[in-house]
């Protein structure tokens, strides 16, 4: 199983280039780990609660979501962590330059309401490759992510 930590809000910066290049946006995969990863209390609502805190006080509310995908090694999710190093026409930038913080995004807003409600109440959701495939896409052209296949 692979566990993805998804950013669930839009960070912004007053400099539009830095905003695009550097700020995390909703649906960005921040890190990926194997099944059973011990998350920090700011990342995981369940960990926050396990540490003796109330669910309502979790500082990660509407900031983080954990997606668990059984049967997928974390190595297959590493591409989701890569920044976009080409422009939106697909032309590579010079060495060391980044166009967008992440090349791929998870379309949180597009998933069924019941799943979004679970993410909001529990901070995590367990799914399958076939179920998540339609919601993982390349930002610049909408191409579907096939790295889990």
């Amino acid at each position: 199983m692979c566990e993805l930590l998804i950013f669930a809000k839009n960070n912004t910066h007053s400099d539009p280039e830095k905003d695009r290049r550097g700020c995390y946006k909703i649906g960005a995969t921040v890190v990926a780990f194997e099944d059973g990863h011990t998350w920090g209390r700011e990342e995981s609502k369940q960990q926050w609660i396990a540490d003796g805190n109330t669910a309502a006080s979790w500082p990660g509310q509407d900031k983080w979501a954990i997606i668990k995908i059984p049967g997928v090694p974390a190595a297959k999710a590493q591409e989701l962590l890569m920044q976009q190093t080409e422009d939106d026409n697909g032309i590579p930038l010079a060495r060391g330059n980044t166009y967008r913080r992440r090349r791929w995004q998870f379309a949180i807003a597009a998933v069924p309401t019941a799943i979004r409600n679970t993410l909001s109440s529990d901070g995590e959701y367990t799914t399958t490759v076939s179920a998540i495939r339609n919601y993982l896409s390349r930002i610049r052209d909408g191409a579907q992510f096939t790295g889990f296949d």
């Binding site: 910066h13 290049r21 550097g22 890190v31 920090g40 990342e43 990660g60 900031k63 590493q78």
Partner: protein
Amino acid sequence: MVDTVKTIKSSGGDYSSLSAWEAGQQKVISAGNTEQAECYNFQDTTGIIIDGWTTVATGYIRIYTPSTERHTGTRGTGYRLVVSGAGVDAINNAEEYVRLEGLELKASGSGASGFDHSGSISATVSDQRIESCLVYECAAAGVWMGDGIVKVSNCIIVGNTGDGITCDFGNTGGTFYLYNNTLCANTAYGINRTNSTVNAKNNYCGGNTTADYTGAFNTKTKCASSDTSGTASYQSIAYSTSAGAYFTSVTAGSQNLHIGLSSALKDVADDLSGDASYPITVDIDGTTRSGSWDIGADEYVSAAVGGPGASFIRLNNGTRKFGGITA
């Protein structure tokens, strides 16, 4: 003034990776405030990019290890950022005011460095610091710097496939201060000044394949070498355990570059505590430098140093001693 400190731990912390901390805390830092990541002893495996923040001179990012969680100068002994993806640096920085203290950095994927930068960092007002870090086995330069004002001190940079430190030109160029570092067994140069203004003092470069130093430095004082590229009178100091530098170990893959009592690097450096641009006072172990300073990252101390109130002392071979027990 608000110092926001979040812990990075394998379990029981605020975050389980530095990368998630960077995303979760990304913000505008007001003057007088700091955002700090306190990293504990474990292996973190996701490279981080520091970008999208707003920092100022008194409102900066600090990523550090507490002394008990810090490396001992040898690999795998403290918090370590060990990444392997092609082109994935351990730390890639695009912010102007960032301080890294006491980290182990390794990036083994092709083209990757322990520290690199992206974006466009001001060449005149920035302040990036890399202090007391251990950078090793990177597929490219251990530290690659091209933009802004970068200060590197008390670091050991060893066994990288490329330069130990590359001083180049990214988008704006910069001014770099390299003080009291030890750079050994890298496959190209120890310090390669290709571009930008480089001020190097009290460094030791030894056993680097192509040469220890190359390029035109703005300042290169008391910079020792195992070849003849160092400062005059500080050349041909062997990268060895039995001559010259008298390191603790030069075994490839497990070097311990603390110096011995007989080291030619001992007591011959300049005191930089009053340096006008970048004053420093300690060595890689946190030992306060005193008397005649030593060249390189390590200031030699005898094992007796520590004092009755110390919870532990750090011996000069890098090990820690707790109440008579050596760890």
